[in-house]
């Protein structure tokens, strides 16, 4: 419990001025990038060293105080939402790159380091950190680890998990451990613990030090922007690219509404179209040139009514800026939105998009689609106005239907944003009761008091500031049931 004994002990770990308890200090930590949920934490602590984090976690364990680690609070699933009467451990001051070894292509960083800063630090050596969530300019490696974050360029070289070689963590019960190694091989001898920890959504403990793999900057990018008068046709083009044996670095699709938002935001100069497909090839120049000739042929045959090729770094940046800012740009079109993150098998993309189109008409809500087409990871943005009574609930319900759709097509409810607070009721759509039991048991084996990010990922409990109205859409469809 967060009583005075707790605070007295906490002040021995961290000076009082770094323990935030006043309203004006706590309110800004109320929510992450999913504003549908907000909850004022009991306190926020700003550690400045690894030792302070370890001691804080140990104290929380001893006194059974729930905590949530927080990076930059850009989670889109409520992952860094505070816990009632819980502590927020904000890691932003642990933002040092401890080691950069370009010869071995590795970097060792603290958890609060911003994703893009690693790439910036590695750039003088011709290297970069590959996973590029659209939020890369601000999201932290700690947050990336919690969700196994990906980005537009994860088709070829994988997500966060594929780039973490080793880490030091404090488990929720205070145990300190280290796994992986400073070798590009990553897993040493024994099971891949890095792979297990990455994607655990902050439920296992806090990553304190992370060893990352760096990659050589591609010598050449060839970026193609194709415009279609039909969303399905853009989806088919993706299948054609895949069937050709090409392995692009990125394949992204935006629909009309998303194009409009991006255009309003960064004036990327996108063509007026129902759908845009961005395909980017990357690698050694001679190889990429040859692939590009092949790609051009494919896109020309795919029914695109306009084809643009970026001929300079600026033109490429412009194409990507529109895509990367698309989520927040939707804020220009609507006061509130929910982003979904379901995955469908790539071959069923067209089907999924049609179904989403039908659903949005049924619910009378706008949905903008921006997605990682290369791996079937959809990002439908459901637009609503929170001031309108019942709008949030309708949006939530529509979101639920989209998730159910992804599962029924053989996909997943989340590709990279995680379950967090938002999708915890949908976990049973993906896993059997026994599978969830096993995960719960694992969680309790690591965190017997369930203090680390309590209330996230697993179904159950009341969501703060948001009550489910009536039956959950998955319940209606008989996919989940409540006792």
């Amino acid at each position: 419990m967060m009583n005075s004994a707790f605070f007295t002990a906490l002040e021995k770990i961290c000076p009082a001025e770094r323990i935030l308890t006043r309203d004006a200090q706590l309110l800004p930590y109320e929510s992450d990038a999913l504003t549908a949920f907000h909850l004022k934490p009991g306190a926020v602590v700003l550690p400045e060293s690894e030792a302070e984090i370890i001691d804080t976690v140990r104290l929380c364990h001893e006194m059974a105080v729930p905590f949530v680690a927080r990076g930059s609070g850009t989670s889109l699933s409520g992952g860094s939402l505070p816990i009632p009467d819980g502590l927020v451990i904000a890691l932003n001051r642990l933002n040092r790159i401890k080691k950069l070894d370009p010869e071995q292509r590795i970097a060792v960083v603290e958890p609060g380091v911003v994703n893009l800063h690693i790439t910036q630090a590695a750039a003088p050596y011709g290297l970069y950190y590959a996973p590029d969530p659209s939020s890369q300019s601000i999201c932290t490696i700690g947050g990336n680890i919690a969700f196994n974050s990906g980005g537009a360029h994860c088709l070829k070289y994988g997500m966060t998990s594929n780039h973490v070689l080793g880490m030091k963590v404090v488990l929720a019960d205070g145990a300190l451990t280290q796994f992986g190694c400073e070798s590009v091989e990553g897993v040493g001898i024994g099971p891949d613990l890095v792979g297990l920890f990455v994607g655990s959504e902050g439920l296992f403990g806090i990553a304190l030090e992370i060893t990352l793999r760096l990659m050589p900057q591609p010598e050449l990018y060839r970026t193609v922007l194709a415009a279609y008068d039909d969303l399905g046709r853009a989806g088919d083009a993706v299948s054609m690219v895949v069937a050709s044996g090409l392995l692009p670095g990125a394949m992204e699709i935006m629909d009309r509404l998303a194009i409009k938002a991006a255009e309003a935001s960064v004036a990327a100069g996108y063509p007026d179209a129902e759908a845009l497909l961005i395909v980017e090839l990357e690698g050694e120049a001679p190889q990429v040139q040859a692939e590009f000739e092949q790609l051009r042929g494919i896109i020309e045959d795919s029914g695109a009514f306009e084809l643009r090729v970026a001929n300079s770094e600026e033109e490429r940046d412009r194409i990507w800026k529109g895509r990367k800012g698309a989520f927040s740009a939707v804020g220009r079109l609507s006061p509130d939105y929910i982003v979904q993150d379901g995955v469908v098998p790539r071959s069923r993309l067209g089907e999924a998009l049609l179904a989403i189109g039908a659903l949005k008409r049924q619910y009378g809500l706008d949905v903008a689609n921006v997605f990682h087409a290369g791996d079937g990871n959809l990002h439908p943005l459901i637009l609503y106005d929170g001031r309108e009574p019942g709008a949030l609930e309708r949006a939530e319900e529509l979101a639920g239907e989209i998730l159910a759709l992804c599962v029924s097509l053989g996909g997943s409810i989340t590709g990279e944003h995680g379950i967090g607070m938002e999708k915890r009721e949908y976990l049973p759509a993906m896993f059997s009761e026994e599978e969830i039991d096993i995960m719960q048991a694992l969680r309790r084996a690591i965190d017997p008091k369930e203090i680390a990010n309590r209330g996230k990922m697993f179904p159950g409990g009341e969501a703060p500031a948001l009550k489910q109205q009536g039956m959950h859409p998955l319940e209606k469809q008989g996919i989940i049931s409540r006792e």
Binding site: L171, G186, G190
Partner: protein, 349 residues
């Protein structure tokens, strides 16, 4: 009773059980001679292959060769390049985490496993991970299986991400007078734009060799190869560079490694000089740009001692040892917690 139910029953009824695939890595089984053997022979073959999805699902007992053949028909491959391509089962490859030289290009087993169906030490059959190329739901126990040596759960089915393969390869050999010079060349290459399919380091008659492989389109390879050779010679001069025939044996990291014992050690290239100085009598090859050591020798004690001295752990694949782990013992509190949940009675050995 189906094959999975039989495994479940066996686990429930036995005190100790042990999985053996095709036995391509004999040292992994010696310690478990007394345990009830799990028979995977019924769990053989590809279950579902979606070339357009870049995914393949196969039974854990499927041979790596069969999987590779199915993929090759569609111009695809397993980019982690399973070791023992002729003998190994896919389950054994995952359990022992064994990739070959081509792993250098895109990643190892952990980077391509997507999900699995398993039976744990309590006889429960369940699924971990997913079947689509991207999935962030739930704890990723499928990655945890990589290197788990069958001691946490028995895999019955595995799903992988696969990639299109490239049509042509060319291989180069660079010779260096000293290990140091060869390592410098690796460091130079690491900071350049070259995208190599493989890069291995091995002792040669009068010094050290770097073997490099480039893959791509026929028409671009000559230029890329030449450029790479020139760049390397300018950036980190070798005594000699020559193109070598791109044969399978060249890229089998174990091909030239005789000796009763064979083990794999994971390390960073900077650790190579210290290790190499201590195992001068063994035959060895450093794969994945110097991030992995394959060591073979008749003298196991020398290897063991060297590893202990440097705080490294290794996995013995060949040779009669009481346990496959060699060097610094492997023990981790997080792994123990998983064991506690999946196999509290330590049935899986």
């Amino acid at each position: 009773m189906g094959p999975v139910a039989r495994i479940q029953a066996l686990v429930r009824e036995s005190e100790r059980v042990h999985v053996r695939g095709n036995g391509s890595k004999p040292a992994l089984h010696i310690h478990a001679a007394a345990a009830a053997p799990v028979d995977l022979s019924a769990l053989n073959g590809v279950i579902d292959y979606q070339a357009s999805e870049y995914t393949i699902t196969a039974y854990a007992g499927a041979s790596v060769a069969d999987i590779a053949a199915a993929l090759a028909e569609q111009g695809q491959y397993l980019p982690f390049d399973p070791l023992f391509p002729a003998e190994a089962t896919i389950g054994g490859t995952v359990a022992a985490n064994l990739s070959g030289s081509r792993r250098f290009r895109y990643g190892g087993v952990r980077d391509f496993i997507l999900g699995a169906q398993v039976v744990d030490g309590r006889g429960r059959a369940f699924r971990v991970g997913g079947k689509v190329v991207k999935n962030a739901a739930g704890f990723d126990l499928s990655k945890f299986l990589v290197g788990s040596l069958g001691q946490y759960a028995i895999m019955t089915e595995l799903t992988f991400k696969v990639f299109p393969d490239v049509p042509r390869f060319r291989s180069l050999r660079f010779n260096y007078g000293t290990l140091d010079a060869a390592l410098k060349a690796i460091y130079f290459s690491n900071q350049n734009v070259y995208e190599l399919d493989a890069l291995d380091l091995l002792p040669a008659e009068d010094g050290w060799s770097l073997l490099a492989r480039l893959g791509g389109y026929e028409e671009t390879l000559p230029r890329r190869t030449e450029r790479f050779a020139d760049g390397m010679m300018q950036g980190a001069a070798a005594c000699a560079v020559s193109e070598v025939a791109d044969e399978a044996s060249l890229w089998d990291p174990l091909a030239g490694l005789p000796g009763r014992y064979l083990c794999k050690v994971v390390l960073g290239p900077r650790q190579i000089p210290a290790l190499d100085a201590l195992i001068g009598n063994a035959s060895r090859r450093y794969g994945v740009g110097g991030n992995l050591a394959w060591i073979a020798s008749d003298d196991c004690a020398e290897i063991e001692q060297a590893l202990k001295q440097l705080g490294l752990s290794g996995l013995c694949l060949r040779g009669d040892r009481p346990t496959p782990i060699i060097g610094r013992p492997v023990d981790n509190v997080l792994a123990q917690r998983v064991k506690q949940v999946l196999d509290p009675q330590n049935k899986l050995v």
